[in-house]
């Protein structure tokens, strides 16, 4: 009986059921949309993180005589491994082009099987072919020694008496080959420019035996970092079997690595190149999850409140039904059962509809690229992850219904049964939060938590761009308390403001809508509590749309600035070490569209005290015209505030300017400008002498260079964490005896197209002339894609904006509908007294205008505040924390227009409801 009656209650009140289902589905939809988005993003972040990894696992032989040719097929057949290639690496001491040329510096030979080219995307033959009796040489080696296909080279190996000669059958591009240089002992790869690739069969016949003998000889002279012979097995795992979650994926990869060692105990020591990427992705995914949930959850809370309001809309009619049931003899237990089962029906329906909404909004807002992983028929679809998120969202829908629909009805039912009375008007006691000033308490807690976070250095950037940045969960406490407190405070202030300005509001609306407007305005002011609830909900929803749009724009801007900071200017041109270029090379880079060029010298092995440091030499005149130099990078080293901050180890330095610091460097030939971090570390103040020890390439000895501290900076363009000591370039060349520039910075007219064109022109121009590395903002943004700074917030932003528009429009519609429902008798009486539809509509417009207008103003204000707070808190994920908000003018305008359009449509639809009002029925309403 209970089931049947509950089902009838649901199906025979379609308007009520639909309204509630829609309200609930909105909340569940946004929540599940965010969860799905996080899942897809996590999967994408994991995939992006491991994409640059070319060789998953490298197993090194623990002895030079390990038989890798036999071991490789066994490993390849291991579960989870898709391929294994045996590789020998051996360093040669020199390579000479036969009949001419000079000996090259030392280089490395790799002996591979022909199948290696198909198994790993590491080596690209740019010219010629791989031949069993010949050699491939690196582009850098070919350019440096002017070696062409068809020439022959002679290679000498330490400890091997006879050099070997080979014809060059091809040139190989090593851009993707960094992984080849990993050694069993070094964590960081030492990249070698001169590389020779030979066939493994040839190697076995000609070099394996003598090199094994050298490697096994305990009396051989060992040069640090020199590899006599390193037998390796390069392993590719089956990435399709990797879980989307980076933590699980890391465990999977780790177990495969151990599996390889287990197969050949004591003979192989393997290193897993994926774990580093997973580690970065793990921290990034966690931060992304927190960030997404933090950015999206308030929207869910608001949508949830809306569903509660939608449930309240029909509370009166439900009470009437309950009264009828009671008069027909239903017991309280039966009625409770009916209410509970009705709630379950609504919860299941609303949650299911919500999941559908969630997927729809994800598709609508995030685009097909991101949602390809959500295609159940696609190969990458992870049913477990999807089911997990869907279950969480579904459970949230059930809880929400329990809180929003069941509890209030159950409470009303109990009151009615115990008090045996029926109230005609809703009696609203002052809520607990208002009596206890919870709003002020929460804002106070937010301020304290902000202060504590700041005190603990929570906002200090970690400085390592492109890697994982750990965000403390505590960092999210401040916005949580601030948002809750602000919400309640807005509610209190709007209510007080409305109640206190009845006459002003009345007068305002009289001017706008005539005499009836005044009455409507006054009526509005006297219903402050209901109106302020509506204003607060809509304003806060709007504030989230606004804050997210602002945050997103600031985030994108910061991403650009970070990249600009890393590149140093629009383009960075780095010649290879084996083709050094002097400062004069800058003139060759003066292409059309280039505004200025500057060469930067660098010594990575300079000494300050006994510690190794990197010293840069810049030409101030051209550097200031070319490099990205915002004043926020510099501090005023003479200011007492800076001295105090350095003494107290705080970051409240006095603001300086690029001009001030660079002028000081230009005017002091032996001047040095220093990062505040190093100045604090070495206790240096402006004017102090600073002794640098620079390696002189002419004398091959360290030279004492006396400098004087003339300026301080927080950041210096070209980012690198090692740019701590900057001196004048001429002074550096004189001290180091080395005229080559480490890289050249290029400033263009700023047009993205010009930057792209110049980048491709330079690449084409120098492709066969000298090896160079060309970076611009775009390439840096792409290569830094494993970090949080490269998170794509646009999908979440689009989803949030869609919801802002829907929730705001729906919110207004529901509030207006509630107003009509609650005041049906009043409107009926007005009609009886002779009010026409136009009069009634003006009442509705007054209410809509007041709610809409106040919401827009308050929403914009709170949105800006929240965005500032978000930028302050989440600024740590960027190298350079944002100083100001970036304003997405067009986006905000379109958001406002959509919101206004949504409101107008809502009002138009609801005003139709007025025209169908039956006076007699309205007057009969209890």
């Amino acid at each position: 009986m209970t089931l049947t009656y509950a089902w009838k209650l649901v199906t025979r009140n379609p308007r009520r059921t639909f309204t509630y289902l829609f309200g609930l589905a909105l909340a569940v939809g946004l929540f599940s949309g965010i969860l799905f988005f996080v899942d897809v993003t996590a999967r994408q972040m994991t995939a992006t993180a491991i994409a640059p990894v070319k060789i998953d696992i490298i197993a090194h032989g623990t002895k030079p005589d390990v038989n890798i040719a036999d071991a490789a097929p066994t490993i390849a057949n291991d579960r989870g491994v898709s391929a294994a290639e045996p590789v020998y690496a051996a360093d040669f001491t020199s390579a000479v082009k036969l009949n001419g040329g000079h000996p090259s510096p030392a280089g490395r030979m790799f002996a591979i099987q022909p199948s290696y080219f198909q198994t790993f995307d590491v080596l690209q033959i740019s010219e010629g072919t791989f031949d069993a009796s010949g050699a491939l040489i690196s582009e850098a080696m070919a350019i440096a020694q002017n070696i062409k296909v068809g020439d022959s080279i002679q290679l000498a190996f330490g400890g091997v008496n006879n050099p070997v000669s080979l014809p060059v059958t091809g040139i190989i591009n090593m851009d993707n080959a960094d992984a080849l240089f990993a050694t069993a002992t070094e964590a960081e790869n030492a990249i070698v420019s001169d590389v020779v690739i030979v066939d493994q069969s040839w190697f076995r016949v000609n070099l394996l035996q003598p090199l094994t003998a050298v490697a096994l000889d305990p009396n051989a002279i060992v040069i640090p970092g020199f590899i006599p012979l390193d037998p390796q097995i390069h392993i590719r795992i089956n990435r399709d079997l990797l879980p989307g979650d980076p933590t699980l994926a890391a465990i999977h990869a780790e177990s495969l690595r151990r599996g390889v060692e287990r197969l050949f105990p004591g003979q192989l020591k393997s290193s897993d190149n994926l774990s580093g990427a997973f580690k970065a992705a793990k921290a990034d995914v966690l931060s992304a999850k927190i960030l997404f949930i933090f950015l999206g959850l308030p929207g869910v809370a608001l949508a949830a409140y809306l569903s509660k309001f939608a449930a309240e809309l029909f509370a009166e009619s439900q009470r009437r039904e309950i009264s009828i049931l009671r008069t027909r003899g239903a017991t309280p237990a039966q009625i409770t059962g009916i209410v509970a089962v009705t709630s379950v029906f609504l919860a299941i329906g609303g949650s299911a509809l919500g999941l559908f909404f969630g997927i729809l909004t994800l598709f609508a807002s995030a685009g097909t690229q991101i949602t390809s992983n959500l295609n159940p028929f696609g190969p990458n679809f992870d049913w477990n992850v999807f089911a997990n998120s869907a279950a969480i969202a579904f459970a949230a829908g059930l809880v929400l219904t329990f809180l929003a629909a069941f509890l209030p009805t159950f409470g009303a039912l109990r009151r009615e049964i115990t008090q045996e009375r029926r109230t005609i008007r809703r009696v609203e006691a002052e809520p607990f939060w208002k009596r206890s000033y919870l709003d002020f308490i929460l804002i106070g807690v937010a301020i304290i938590s902000l202060y504590i976070t700041q005190l603990n250095g929570g906002f200090k950037p970690s400085g390592n761009e492109g890697t994982a940045i750990t965000l403390s969960v505590y960092i999210f406490l401040t916005p949580f308390f601030a948002w809750t407190g602000l919400t309640l405070l807005v509610l209190r202030l709007v209510e007080k403001g409305l109640a206190a300005s009845s006459n002003q509001i009345g007068s305002f609306f009289r001017h706008l809508l005539g005499e009836i407007g005044e009455v409507a305005g006054k009526s509005l002011a006297r219903r402050a509590s209901r109106i302020s609830a509506a204003v607060t909900i809509i304003a806060l929803t709007l504030s989230f749309g606004v804050s997210l749009a602002l945050f997103q724009k600031t985030y994108a801007n910061e991403k650009q600035l970070d990249s600009q900071y890393i590149v140093g200017a629009d383009i960075r041109f780095t010649p290879a070490l084996n083709t050094p270029q002097g400062a004069g090379f800058a003139t060759q880079l003066q292409h059309p569209g280039v505004v200025s060029v500057t060469g930067v010298a660098r010594d990575p092995v300079a000494l300050v005290g006994s510690e190794k440091n990197t010293v840069y030499g810049i030409d101030v005149a051209s550097f200031r015209k070319t490099a990205y130099l915002p004043d926020s990078f510099f501090v005023d080293g003479n200011a007492q505030q800076t001295i105090d901050a350095m003494t107290n180890r705080s970051t409240k330095y006095a603001a300086g300017s690029a001009k001030q610091v660079l002028d000081a460097l230009a005017n002091t030939p032996d001047g040095v400008i220093i990062s505040v971090e190093q100045a604090e570390k070495y206790n240096i103040r402006l004017g102090d002498p600073v002794l640098l020890r620079i390696y002189n390439r002419s004398t091959n000895q360290y030279t004492d260079v006396q400098t004087q501290a003339v300026g301080l900076f927080v950041y210096f363009p070209t980012s690198a964490q090692d740019s701590d000591f900057i001196i004048n370039r001429d002074f550096m060349i004189k001290s180091s005896g080395y005229t080559a520039m480490n890289y050249f910075l290029i400033k263009t007219d700023g047009n993205p197209q010009t930057i792209a064109n110049l980048t491709s022109n330079f690449t084409a121009q120098y492709k066969n002339v000298m090896p160079v590395r060309i970076q611009n903002i775009d390439t840096v943004v792409k290569t830094e894609s494993s970090s949080l700074t490269s998170l794509n917030l646009s999908g979440l932003g689009a989803m949030e904006r869609l919801y802002t528009i829907v929730v705001v429009s729906m919110g207004l519609a529901i509030f207006l509908l509630a107003m009509i429902n609650e005041r049906q008798r009043e409107f009926g009486a007005m009609r009886a007294l002779g009010a026409n539809l136009n009069h009634l509509r003006r009442f509705l417009f007054t209410e809509a205008l007041a709610i809409g207008g106040l919401s827009l103003v308050i929403g914009a204000g709170v949105g800006v505040l929240l965005a500032r707070l978000l930028v302050l808190l989440l600024g740590v994920i960027f190298t350079i924390p944002a100083q100001t908000l970036s304003w997405p003018g067009l986006e905000l305008l379109s958001l406002a227009l959509f919101v206004v359009a949504g409101m107008v449509i809502s009002v138009a639809i609801i005003s139709r409801r007025l025209s169908t009002l039956k006076i007699v029925e309205a007057l009969r309403e209890l």
């Binding site: 009836i516 009455v519 006054k522 009609r831 002779g834 539809l837 006076i919």
Partner: protein, 236 residues
């Protein structure tokens, strides 16, 4: 002489008339008859009491006479014009200008003060603010609540609220007052006061007063009683 004749003629003039007035309500598939073909004539200045047991069609008749509801069949003729010929908006204008309604639960607007409630119908009629203020003062004095002008309805007693309701019904100088059990929720002393006030106003302004009531003492003071049962007129 001619003046008194014309006054008598005016008094005998039929202000409201119904012919074969029928009202049915649809309850699911069932049709419920509320009024079954009434023919009534009400003269200007008459005090007509409508009586009958619950569900006899009293309020339905009042609503039809006031143009708040549409008959299923038949006509309501006001000053010679069939109400069914008017649109909803024209009916609203007629109610605003010709009629005053007094409800059982007074139905004052809870967010407006006593004065604002009285001024509301004048405001709908575009009466200037000065005139509204003057007339509301006058009406507040008439119902003896001048000192409660700025009170909200919830600050007034039931009787006071009903008197404000009467003042509101008179705001636009209506010629017909329609009252649906105006004393239904009041104690006998207050009821007596309210009815006294109403009859006094009716006489002073020569209004037509049509009142639904259960109270036979109130009905006894009427010029005419319409007795209804099951939607049929028993006596008039």
């Amino acid at each position: 002489m001619s003046d008194s004749i014309s006054a008598i003629a005016r008094e005998e003039e039929t202000v409201l008339q119904t012919t074969n007035l029928r009202r049915e309500y649809q309850m699911g598939r069932e049709s419920i008859l509320a009024l079954g073909g009434l023919d009534i004539s009400i003269q200007r200045g008459q005090f007509v009491a409508i009586m009958g047991p619950s569900g006899s069609g009293k309020s339905t008749l009042l609503n039809l006479l006031g143009g708040l509801d549409q008959p299923t069949e038949g006509k309501v003729i006001l000053d010679g014009h069939d109400l069914s010929e008017y649109s909803e908006e024209e009916l609203a204008t007629i109610r605003r200008e010709e009629m005053g309604f007094i409800f059982q639960r007074h139905d004052l607007f809870p967010v407006l003060t006593a004065r604002e409630n009285i001024e509301f119908p004048m405001l709908l009629n575009d009466v200037s603010i000065e005139d509204r203020r003057a007339r509301s003062e006058q009406l507040l004095n008439l119902v003896g609540l001048a000192d409660k002008a700025d009170a909200l309805p919830e600050e007034l007693s039931g009787g006071q609220q009903q008197r404000i309701g009467i003042a509101r019904a008179l705001a636009n100088e209506a010629t017909i007052l329609l009252a649906d059990e105006p004393t239904g929720n009041l104690d006998s002393l207050t009821s007596e006061e309210i009815i006294g006030s109403l009859i006094e106003v009716k006489r002073a302004r020569n209004l037509t007063l049509i009142m639904v009531t259960h109270d036979s003492e109130v009905a006894a003071r009427a010029d005419r009683i319409l007795q209804l049962k099951d939607g049929q007129l028993l006596s008039s």
